[in-house]
Symmetry: C2
Subunit: 675 residues, 2 copies
């Protein structure tokens, strides 16, 4: 490495230290220990800061997101629109430099911070790249060949979600994934030897990774560079373990005290002095460092220009693939999706919504080539595999190839969701999906939450969505899950009642480019409703069964809507007229105009919610509740429903109580509020 | 192995097959492949089926809980109160034989089924045993020396939660843990080679486990037996990989089709015939098999009798320890806990509730020796370590010993929670606790849910409980978490507002022996309230600031209560009198008599909820809401609060709107309902 490299590395270190000092909050330790690693990665990366959305750029994920001051320093030098002023606003409200990397900031490929997630996102990014290459590359046209770089720390290494994704990455032989393990022996509780003494190299070898080790990570720049070269030659993902010293150069280096608190003023002075910088100045970038980084940006811009020219030629030689790629880069869905979605009438037979979902997926599979995903080892139960799907597998397995779009995630729900986030983050209009039983979406919520926060276009197919699953019993029957998911901002949570609602759920979910969706489906058969349609359900809520002068309404979702209609019919025979409201997605319904919402839930109409899960949250729409605020029970599905009186009769009985209770009182719609 | 062993193994196989056939639902594959392993384990186990709560019995965890028919067969033979009639009721409503193992059934040590959890529970059970041994064993008095056996399958192996706990178990050198890996190469998606091709042996060696491999697991009974002997000699936890054939003996053996569906009638006939049983009969147990198993039970009873006699002698030689052990076995808390809890007045200074929690833990640490736990690498932030705590560590590390009660879990939230469940399941009145940031309780909810379902006595200390944590930003700021946790049945979810409420939260949580608790604490300082007391807060909700003839009420929790009181004072100056209700725990409040609840939330009083998290769920108590139905923002905590107008002025402004809106209307208490 030359003097200019050393100067750049010092600059990066001090920019990070200055950010943390200015904010009086943050993590200086990892940036000081990792600046040389990050600098060498950025030297190797092909990217064009003027064009952060370029499909074939190398990706970078900072899985130990708390060391974000390091990343901001690099993005500034690299030429992304992140000024010194922005760095000075580090961790201030409404700045472009929040306390952890957020993908809104140009140049940040994924939002990270929650430990373990970033490396899984990197697995997803690398998976997406392999797929794009397999689908589009042709002799002489290497449309896709980018690398995915990632830095992760001890915290990420300990998280199970990372174990899941890295085991799968090894199986999938994602050879363009290059991860750097910041082996600094320090976590928040002090020396990692209090809790983390496993042999990490051996574990990653067990996963099928190439493992390299740079033992003097603070000084052996050549070793780091050579490791990257070696990684690029491997046919496996590579873990480059770099043994570093946290807070390198600080008086407190190598200790926990430098992890998450600003350096003291005198420590900064000695550090700057030692590095040959003026200790009285902050946020200093020598001009030659700017020039040096400018040369990387120039190479990146040239590479993109060459790629764009190639794409033009490609499009004329392969017009169909070229058109698809252009459409996807533009972020447009295939035209006319509505027309391919199945519709149903009440004459059609009762079918489980998971089966109806399979029907929709089968239609979408060919029509939407950006749809890619699979199940956490529940394919035959989730019914997520289109009949003509090809598995995404290393060709050497003989089980599929990288052009395949069905992913066998294994029993790894959390890793699956985090990988789906990474696939979505790749661009190319990817819509990723992951499936499991609804109860086990809970295993994955650490990543589902990040889908919502980042606006990743991910679909979570959650079958076996209630006690209706029957014999597997309370360990498998969700109770709290829907309420939980409905409380996550920017998350659409569908629970369709029949075929038309299932089609509507997919349609809205596909169109919601920046909102992930959970699609909850029944194990058991459900009748096709007379009152449903794709158009009505696409509003998130509607009256599926109306009456003249109703005295009450039942609002229900999914498997309970049909039972509510049955109750309405029973009650009608007794002269009690009620409406049944189907509310398959709160998120979509809440976005409707207030007039529409009040037309469904008008003043004067007492409403009872009916959903065989937790009633928590339903008071938002309903005055009374019939649900399940306890754990379920093992037994045949219909027996379990009967046991809790979740039947037409059970509903009718309660509606009558509700009608009596509110008779003669002023009933205000729950949606008629002051705030 | 003798003929009788073979006969017993065949009996176990057929009992399992008959259960699944009778239920027409369930998993015959694993029982057929594992009967020989389970039989040999049960032969080795020291247990007394007449006394399932004996402290020093060997424990058994079926982590692949779906193969529960195997376990029921064994428990029946072993002499637990589980009759042939019970087996015939497999997977029927209200039977003692639900679809997955539930700890209510005598002889079942932990509820399992959700994959990966059982092996972590086993780690917790083994950890608890090491602690009991270190605390109570004396020369000549081996009070504790039991083994923990576990069977886990490929599904458990893939789950990240198992990776976390097993890595920690290796670090902790839990040498009395003996786990059998059912290596049958089949999961629901078919051959495990579609997703799971890592080198499991190498991975567990990397964790610091002893790894043994019985390659012909279907026939090499001696190999299995010897492996157990070798495991007992190891100073590490042991993984015995047993390569088996799923559905062994079925015509479909070795395929996925035998995993989760009953065998066909003709297949059962050929299997019974082949095993020398009458194919026309079901649920057959040869008398000699009963006698054989009776001999194990007799040895177990004798062992317990000997142990009880030893305990008597021990109690006279070590009266204090003896008394403690007796008290703990009786499930009684130490007397007079109330008196040691800190109390506060409004004159005391503002303190973060996490700091107040530290004060309580410091008091409880010596007083409650059954309290054991730690943090997921956030000790200095969660403040969960009593000043005089000793770390639970293998003595060889020099960092603590097994008598220590502070556990360094590492960055392993999910594993931590599942281990805490195992510790609680051990008995001895253990109260385990695990700490992390509230947002990362979401990583652990797969296990938190099982704490609630099983009624484990676990405390989850969840600090940094809102946007008040500030700079770390939206990736770390919980929004949906409280609503989620409040929707889990049998889970107490405390968010104390000050010191008295913090003491109350711990007091109630300690007394709730069969209800786990989440304790949410602030990062930021909160004032001590004039209106709080341990007694009042122990009801879960109360009027913390009352007014004459209030025109509205604000109901708040935690850090928002003080702000609400500030708003009330501002409003009082304008002649608007309101009540402030503190509702630190919905679960506890909901259990109060209806009269009491209506006295807090009376008819006629419009109520606005105020909590800086999702408003979802608050309609249960409040007509209007002031909360945060979007993700947070990075900035200094007070700036973030101001940004969203979460201030006295912001609250007051909205209360006035609420008062205007409801003026002259009939306002019904949200708790005054028909159902």
């Amino acid at each position: 490495m030359s003097d200019i490299d050393n100067l750049a590395i010092s600059t990066i270190r001090l920019l990070a230290v200055d950010q943390v000092a200015a904010a009086n909050s943050g993590h200086p330790g990892a940036p000081l220990g990792l600046a040389q690693v990050a600098h060498i990665i950025f030297k190797n990366m092909i990217q064009n800061p003027a064009s952060p959305d370029w499909l074939n750029k190398d990706r970078f994920v900072l899985s130990n997101g708390h060391s974000v001051a390091l990343l901001y320093s690099l993005l500034h030098l690299a030429g992304y629109p992140l000024s010194i002023e922005d760095l000075k606003q580090f961790r201030h409200i409404n700045s472009k430099t929040p306390g952890h990397p957020e993908a809104e900031t140009p140049g940040i490929d994924v939002t990270t911070g929650p430990l373990g997630q970033g490396i899984c996102n990197a697995v997803g990014l690398a998976l997406a790249q392999e797929h794009i290459a397999a689908r589009f590359n042709k002799p002489g046209f290497e449309i896709s060949n980018n690398y995915t770089y990632c830095i992760l720390g001890d915290g990420c290494m300990m998280e199970g979600v990372a174990s899941e994704a890295c085991s799968l990455a090894g199986h999938l032989k994602l050879s363009k994934l290059i991860a750097f393990y910041d082996d600094n022996h320090i976590s928040i509780d002090g020396d990692t030897n209090v809790a983390f003494t496993e042999d990490v190299n051996k574990r990653y070898e067990a996963y099928g990774w190439e493992v390299l080790w740079v033992k003097d990570g603070m000084h052996d720049y050549e070793g780091i560079t050579k490791a990257i070269e070696q990684a690029k030659k491997s046919d496996k993902p590579t873990l480059i373990r770099v043994t570093t010293i946290i807070g390198y150069g600080s008086k407190m280096q190598g200790t926990h005290s430098v992890h998450g608190a600003p350096l003291k003023a005198d420590d900064i002075v000695q550090l700057k002095t030692h590095l040959g910088f003026d200790p009285s100045k902050s946020f200093v970038v020598p001009e030659e460092v700017y020039s040096y980084y400018k040369s990387f940006a120039d190479s990146g811009a040239a590479a993109e220009a060459k790629w764009s020219a190639m794409l033009k030629e490609y499009s004329s030689q392969y017009p169909e693939l070229g058109a698809e790629l252009k459409r996807r880069i533009a972020g447009e869905l295939p035209a006319d999706l509505e027309s391919i979605l199945p519709t149903f009438t009440a004459a059609d037979k009762a079918v489980a919504t998971r089966k109806l979902s399979e029907g929709v997926i089968s239609k979408l599979y060919d029509a939407v080539p950006e749809l890619i995903g699979g199940s956490a080892d529940l394919t035959g139960s989730n019914l997520t595999r289109a009949p003509d799907a090809v598995d995404f597998q290393p060709p050497s397995t003989g089980l599929g190839d990288y052009s395949g779009r069905y992913i066998r995630f294994g029993v790894r729900e959390h890793g699956m969701a985090a990988i789906c986030n990474g696939i979505s983050a790749y661009g190319a209009n990817f819509i990723s999906f992951g499936a499991t039983f609804m109860n086990f979406v809970s295993y994955a919520v650490g990543a589902v939450r990040l889908s919502a926060l980042s606006g990743h276009h991910v679909l979570y197919v959650a079958t076996h969505d209630s006690i209706g699953l029957g014999e597997d019993g309370p360990t498998h029957q969700p109770i709290e899950t829907l309420t939980h998911l409905r409380s996550i901002p920017n998350l659409s949570v569908w629970r369709p009642a029949d075929g038309n609602e299932t089609s509507a759920a997919y349609l809205v979910a596909l169109k919601n480019k920046h909102t992930p969706s959970v699609l909850a489906f029944s194990r058991q058969n459900l009748p096709q409703l007379a009152g449903s349609s794709i158009a009505k359900a696409s509003k998130g809520g509607y009256v599926v069964h109306g009456s003249e002068a109703p005295v009450a309404a039942v609002v229900a979702t999914g498997s309970e809507v049909g039972i509510a209609v049955e109750a309405a019919e029973l009650l009608a025979k007794e002269g009690v007229n009620i409406n049944v409201i189907s509310l398959p997605d709160w998120f979509t319904f809440d976005a409707q105009p207030k007039d529409y919402k009040l037309s469904i839930f008008p003043d004067g109409l007492p409403v009872m919610s009916f959903e065989v899960l937790s009633t928590n949250g339903w008071s938002k729409y309903a005055h009374e509740h019939f649900g399940l605020d306890r754990f379920g029970i093992s037994g045949k599905g219909p027996d379990v429903y009967k046991y809790f009186e979740f039947t037409g009769e059970g509903v009718a009985k309660r509606v009558k109580k509700v009608v009596d209770f509110y008779k003669g009182t002023e009933v205000k719609s729950r949606l008629n509020t002051a705030l």
